[in-house]
Amino acid sequence: MPGIIEAKDLKKTFGSTVAVDGIAFSVRKGEVFGFLGPNGAGKTTTMKMIACVSPKTSGTLTVLGMDPDEVPEKIKAGLGVVPQETNLDPDFTCYGNLFTYARYFDITEAAAAKKADELLEFVQLTEKRDITVEKLSGGMKRRLILARALVNNPDILILDEPTIGLDPQARHLIWEKLRTLQAQGNTIVLTTHYLDEAARLCDRLVIMDNGRILVEGTPADLVRDHAGREIVEVEKSDEVESCLRDLQIPYEMAGDMIQVATESSRDIARILLDRCRPEKVITRPATLEDVFLKLTGRKLRE
């Protein structure tokens, strides 16, 4: 069965810059699919192509079984988009934002009014109904944008960094809403820099870098395949390094720590403590963050 979004050899160039370099992916109906990657990896560009606001350079892309180059207005009628940048309409109240936006989808005035109040309730902003959006906090604005993306009962929800800059309370509320939406059968495509968020929300995800997809899979599979089960961290010192080399245990440098990926942290920790005399040893389960840093490197991106 073909996916609800299908991309093959999808490419996007801006002048001589290649933003998306021939990627292929397939999003199934009803799943939460994540795009991860450092800044400039091509995630947002991919989102914009799916959302029919940026035309592809080459390759094929179908969304809801249709071609964004052919019938963008039909596809967009079935999409809900949460952009990275807050672009609520400052000339309207919370209610006015939802009502006006619903009208852009050819929703009747009566239905738009009803939907606006329902959604304010859903994102817990009923009390702020008649307040202009400029007076909202960052978290409230993101919630209102999420509500706005739902005015047309979209088949696919596209979220570009939905919880960027939010405090933990606000993030948890957004996650809760997204899980509710998934339970209702919505397909959700999202990008995020927060790897715990991706691990928590995504059924499947891809990690991108330099316009290409590096790996694809479920968060658990990716962690198991690329970072092992557990990580032992030791404070960096020349003795520990030479000791590890002598024991022929593979390790990686992570800032001022040495990391050893392993299936059994207990054994490695014991060997280290017995033979290498480290200052401090920490054992922890491997996470998506370990996979991410291993695959995309530790160098800072701008």
Binding site: F14, A51, V53, S54, P55, P72, E73, K74, K76, A77, L79, V81, P83, E85, N87, L88, D89, P90, D91, F92, G96, T100, Y101, R103, Y104, F105, D106, N152
Partner: protein, 261 residues
């Protein structure tokens, strides 16, 4: 990439964008209602009565009657031009409203067409408020002067299209000052507004007729308010219609180039 002067695919959804702007305008109508009233009175008193007391008559009509159509035409020009330069730029660049709109079934062509229609509507609103003031002072000839209202829409659409072309290519909001000061302000003075075009040197008259859109708008407006329509009106109308079509097409296509990458 479509040619700048190709016909853009605009759908009826453009009306939604127009309606959004109307809603915002209507909510602050008390604020929006007074500038046209005050502007009409200021022009009438300062220029009409002030300068008019020295000039008395131009070509057999009282000076204040001579400038009445210019007051209307300049209002048409200013309201559409400033709406579709500074107003549209703020919505596009600072408020990101266009980005939000094109994530819906609206296309960028619909959005810009809606903005142009709204610019023209601003001109109509201005003229509708000013006209009774001018009528009270007896400087326009009713009922023919009522044709100023549909003319305001056409003229407004022309200046909205011209304005949107500048908005589509301006690097920032400050550079929009250039067309305002170098194009709009001189045009308000040298288009047969406060003195007849025939006072200009012949060469400049041709320049004004060929290049200054306001010249044609003032000429038609004057025929309506003075109830003196001559066949030349067809030439003026044709000039305005052609320029309006070209500028609106260019504006929409240039905006697509700017925003859809």
């Amino acid at each position: 990439m479509p040619h700048i002067l190709s016909i853009p695919p605009v759908s009826r959804r453009a009306v939604k964008v127009w309606h959004r702007n109307l809603t915002v305008f209507a909510r602050t109508w008390q604020v929006n209602f007074f500038p046209p009233l005050v502007e009409a009175l200021l022009y009438l008193f300062a220029i009409g009565m002030g300068i008019g007391s020295y000039v008395r008559e131009i070509g057999g009509v009282p000076y204040v009657t001579f400038i009445a159509p210019a007051i209307l035409a300049i209002a048409v020009m200013n309201s559409a031009f400033f709406e579709c330069t500074y107003g549209s730029f703020v919505r596009m660049y600072y408020q990101k409203s266009f980005d939000a709109m094109i994530a819906t079934p609206l296309s960028i062509e619909d959005v810009i067409a809606g903005e142009l229609l709204w610019g023209a509507t601003r001109s109509v609103i201005y003229v509708v408020i000013m006209l009774p003031v001018l009528a009270v002072f007896g400087v326009v000839s009713l009922p023919l002067a009522l044709l100023a209202i549909p003319l305001a829409f056409l003229g407004g659409l022309m200046f909205a299209g011209i304005a949107m072309c500048f908005t589509a290519i301006t690097p920032g909001i400050d550079t929009l000052n250039y067309p305002s000061f170098l194009f709009i302000t001189p045009m308000a003075l040298f288009s047969g507004t406060f003195f007849p075009l025939t006072l200009l040197p012949a060469a400049l008259q041709y320049v004004a007729l060929a290049l200054l859109p306001l010249t044609h708008l003032v000429a038609i407006m004057r025929m309506f308010t003075q109830a003196a329509v001559s066949p030349v009106i067809l030439l003026h109308l044709a000039w305005i219609i052609v320029v309006t079509l070209l500028c609106c097409m260019a504006a929409i296509n240039l905006m697509r180039r700017r925003l859809i990458v």
